[in-house]
Amino acid sequence: MRKCLWLVIAAGAAWGLESAGRGQEKSITKADITKTVRIEKPANTILARQSAGVVSNGKDFVNPKVQPGGVHWHSTLTAACEAARKSGKPVLLFQMMGKLDDQFC
């Protein structure tokens, strides 16, 4: 139990506190500032940052689907390139981790 709690809090600190660390770690190279992490931040600081509440019902986590903004997205890069050849517009490719139509992305 203690191990699980430690791992969860450490993961939350490592993954959730890059924003809390920014601007405070003057000795960190500028390129790394957004990856600044602290392990020992109090739990209430971890939880204070834009955390969404999702009721747990004991089942596996399901990432809710959302509308991916107001942009008209092509389904593949190939489709976008084909459309660009016809329209004369450039292609805009947005890369990310996760899925743009997931709530948590």
Partner: protein
Amino acid sequence: MLFSKDEVANFINKNFEAVWESVRPVPIVRIDFGNGTVLTRTLHGNIATYVCSANGQVLDILPGIYEPQTYSNALNQFRLLYNYVIVQRAISLKAYHDGQILALKENKAPPQFVNSAGLSKRLIEGGVIALLVSAPEAQKWRSPQAKAKLQADHPKLEANDDIANWKILAEDTRINETIRRLQIHEMLAAAGPVQPKAVTKKLYKEILHADLDDPYLGLGRTLFAGYPFAREDKVD
């Protein structure tokens, strides 16, 4: 979200053929308090926005997360870059990147694109005639409204969290536009004509510092250093 803002979404729809793709599943942190309350969040900032020609060649890349106004301005630069390099063939893509590198290394504002098409041509025909000029020269091309928008320090924010988050976003934007953009220009100048898949891993590993081949995205050391139960785990 950035693409929920009408101004950004409308600009993209009007000027680009847009597509999004996932480079890997997103890390999700969930803390289950055991009483039905679960807090969920994800790691932000590991995004990249490419502008490509119709044959998929990468022209330029925006690294990471931006505040909306700077993002919109950068997208406008991207559409003018496409016009200047691909449509007009005014200079080579390498020459464009070399010019940006030179300025950024000297801590100067890099040359910028302006639309030199006459107002009637712009309004009636949606015409674009891109011109690459020095940063001070580019200022003279901006309308008073555009200048006022750029000069606005930050949006009207009231909650302390909103102000704190905006400051973080502003700092991210500043780093993206200086350090990371220089790295991207150097990468693309050296790479020559490339498709996105040829540069994605290098971009994420060396510029965004999120190694896609590392299951812990570079955070393993942070997560496991000083782990207090290491001895117990070994015994188990």
